[in-house]
């Protein structure tokens, strides 16, 4: 047991593990080519990463107790840095575990103005306005979604502006502005006067089965759809006035859509604390070391 502990707190083990993570990192970056590498979800990564965590914890505990005995000459910069790294690894593991245990809490929605989506926490997020700021040359400067959040019919956040780099935080759930675009849709009106939009790829009940919109031509106002019924499927064209189940086609139009991403990460506050602790530790450690080297 003592031998195992000594091996675990060895700096040589640290170096071996750093070397392994470094070399495998290089290999994984070439293999992934723009996709998240599967290496980081494999045991070839998890086992050395766990060993690294154990090594870091053992080294830190050992070093901290040795420093305590030194009296005034003690230096805790490395201890603070190591604590930050330990917290960071814990934050990463907790965050990953939370994402895996709540897969439905991550999601992406494209909303037009007036549309709403139910959030994983049960609240309703409605898009009230969508604005884009542009530079003089026409390139995008910012995308801004003004949203309203309500719960059980009661508005709890009347108008929050979600912008790129300025997400909406609701506890562990954050909503990010990740894209902005426009889409051609068919506007339909129901017998009760309710309106809805149908975009390419979306389905609607046609009364005889399902109907999927394929494409919309804005100039002619004609849309192509695939109608599925018990007897088979066929391609049909829809024009203004066409009946689709309980709805009637009113017009073809282009609408702006906001791409919003929901992310659930209850460990992010821990990660932020860990990063700050690590930075504090690294500066204390190395500025003192710098003083030693220069002297």
């Amino acid at each position: 047991m003592r031998k195992l502990l000594n091996a675990l707190k060895s700096v040589k083990l640290t170096l071996v593990l750093i070397g392994y993570l470094l070399l495998t990192g290089i290999a994984a970056s070439f293999r992934s080519q723009g996709h998240e590498s599967d290496f980081y979800g494999s045991l070839l990564f998890y086992i050395p990463a766990f060993l690294f965590f154990a090594n870091l914890a053992a080294c830190s505990a050992d070093r901290f107790t040795r420093e305590l005995k030194k009296g005034k000459a003690r230096r805790h910069g490395p201890d603070i840095l190591h604590l930050g790294l330990i917290l960071l690894l814990m934050g990463a593991v907790l965050g990953q575990a939370a994402k895996q245990s709540h897969p439905s809490w991550q999601g992406f929605a494209r909303l037009g103005v007036g549309e709403a989506v139910e959030l994983p926490n049960g609240k309703l997020l409605a898009l009230k306005a969508l604005d884009s700021e542009r530079y003089a040359d026409g390139r995008p400067k910012d995308w801004i979604s003004t949203v309203e959040v309500s719960a059980a019919g009661k508005t709890i956040l009347p108008a929050y502006r979600i912008r790129v780099n300025h997400p909406l935080r609701m506890g562990s759930l954050s909503i990010f502005q990740v894209s902005y675009g426009s889409e051609r849709v068919l506007e339909l009106i129901g017998s009760s006067g309710a309106r809805r939009s149908l975009a390419a790829g979306e389905y609607i009940d046609s009364g005889e089965g399902k109907l999927m919109l394929m494409s919309v031509d804005l100039n002619s106002g004609i849309a192509i759809a695939r109608a599925e019924s018990a007897t088979g499927a066929k391609m049909i064209s829809l024009t203004i006035g066409s009946k689709v189940g309980a709805f009637t086609v009113v017009r073809a139009k282009e609408v702006d859509l906001s791409g919003l991403q929901a992310v659930y990460d209850p460990a992010y506050p821990l990660v932020i604390v860990a990063l700050m602790v690590a930075v504090l530790g690294v500066f204390i450690t190395l500025f003192r070391k710098l003083g030693d080297i220069v002297e």
Binding site: G25, I26, N165, F283, L286, I293
Partner: protein
């Protein structure tokens, strides 16, 4: 405005030429003017950054050309500071090597691979965290330039006294650059990534290579703890660490694709 990078390049080359001539003097005396040319180059490059920032209404650090101008300028500033400081032994070869690297980076900035259009950043890049991320990463890497040159000089030198001096310069440069690089590349990078993409770490090639660079310098610092004898291994690791930093910038941008492919 367009002439400023060229003027800076001329100053750097002139500085390198004077330093080169003095490198072969037997008395080892440093020249009295080359570092002022480096300061002039830094000021010209700082002016490029300021003018472009005013033009786009945001700190000009988001394009390849702008990053290289900043990187080269900071190397010039550090090389000048190293020459005028009194606490560390001055080794002209270290300053010369850093000057050559600053010139090489500026030459790349003037090549077609670095578009020079003055363009305001896309929405995801308009963040104070990104400015801290990029600027501190390059400042940290500028110190790594000094450690790279000093490590190569250590490996090439036969004189034990000089080897000890090169080793000390390399260690000092890593000790100064490592915390700045850690804060910039990893910490502020993670905070910005979370705000822009919703994930503070995505195993994107740029992130992996920044981590690889950090691990290389972490290995260097830990090697210094366990190897009391001043052998070649830490110098080799420090030199490889800088090559990793260069690959993080150039290799990932041009060979690998990922979230950082703006």
């Amino acid at each position: 405005m367009n002439a400023l990078p060229t003027i800076a390049f001329v100053f750097i080359c002139a500085s390198a030429a004077v330093q080169g001539a003095f490198l072969f003097r037997k008395d080892g005396k440093a020249d009295p003017v080359s570092h002022w040319a480096l300061l002039a180059a830094f000021l010209a490059l700082a002016a490029v950054t300021i003018v472009r920032s005013a033009g786009i209404g945001f700190p000009a650090l988001t394009g390849t050309f702008e990053s290289l101008v900043f990187f080269s300028g900071i190397i010039c500033l550090i090389a000048w500071s190293y020459r005028i400081q009194k606490r560390l032994v001055f080794l002209s070869l270290v300053q010369f090597g850093a000057t050559i690297i600053a010139a090489a980076l500026l030459a790349v900035a003037s090549s077609p691979i670095a578009p020079k259009d003055v363009l305001a950043p896309i929405p995801a890049l308009r963040s104070g965290w990104l400015v801290l991320h990029v600027s501190l990463s390059f400042i940290g890497e500028s110190f790594f330039v000094a450690s790279f040159v000093a490590s190569l000089a250590f490996l090439a030198s036969k004189d034990e006294r000089k080897k000890a001096d090169y080793d000390k310069i390399a260690y000092t440069a890593v000790a100064a650059g490592y915390p700045i690089f850690t804060a910039g590349a990893l910490v502020f990078g993670a905070i910005w990534a979370e705000q822009a993409w919703g994930s503070w770490w995505s195993w994107d090639p740029k992130e992996i290579w920044a981590l690889v660079t950090w691990l290389a310098y972490t290995a260097y610092l830990h090697l210094r703890l366990v190897r009391k004898k001043k052998d070649a291994l830490p110098s080799i690791v420090a030199a490889l660490g800088f090559l990793c930093a260069l690959f993080t910038f150039f290799g990932v941008n041009f060979l690998l694709t990922g979230l950082h492919s703006y």
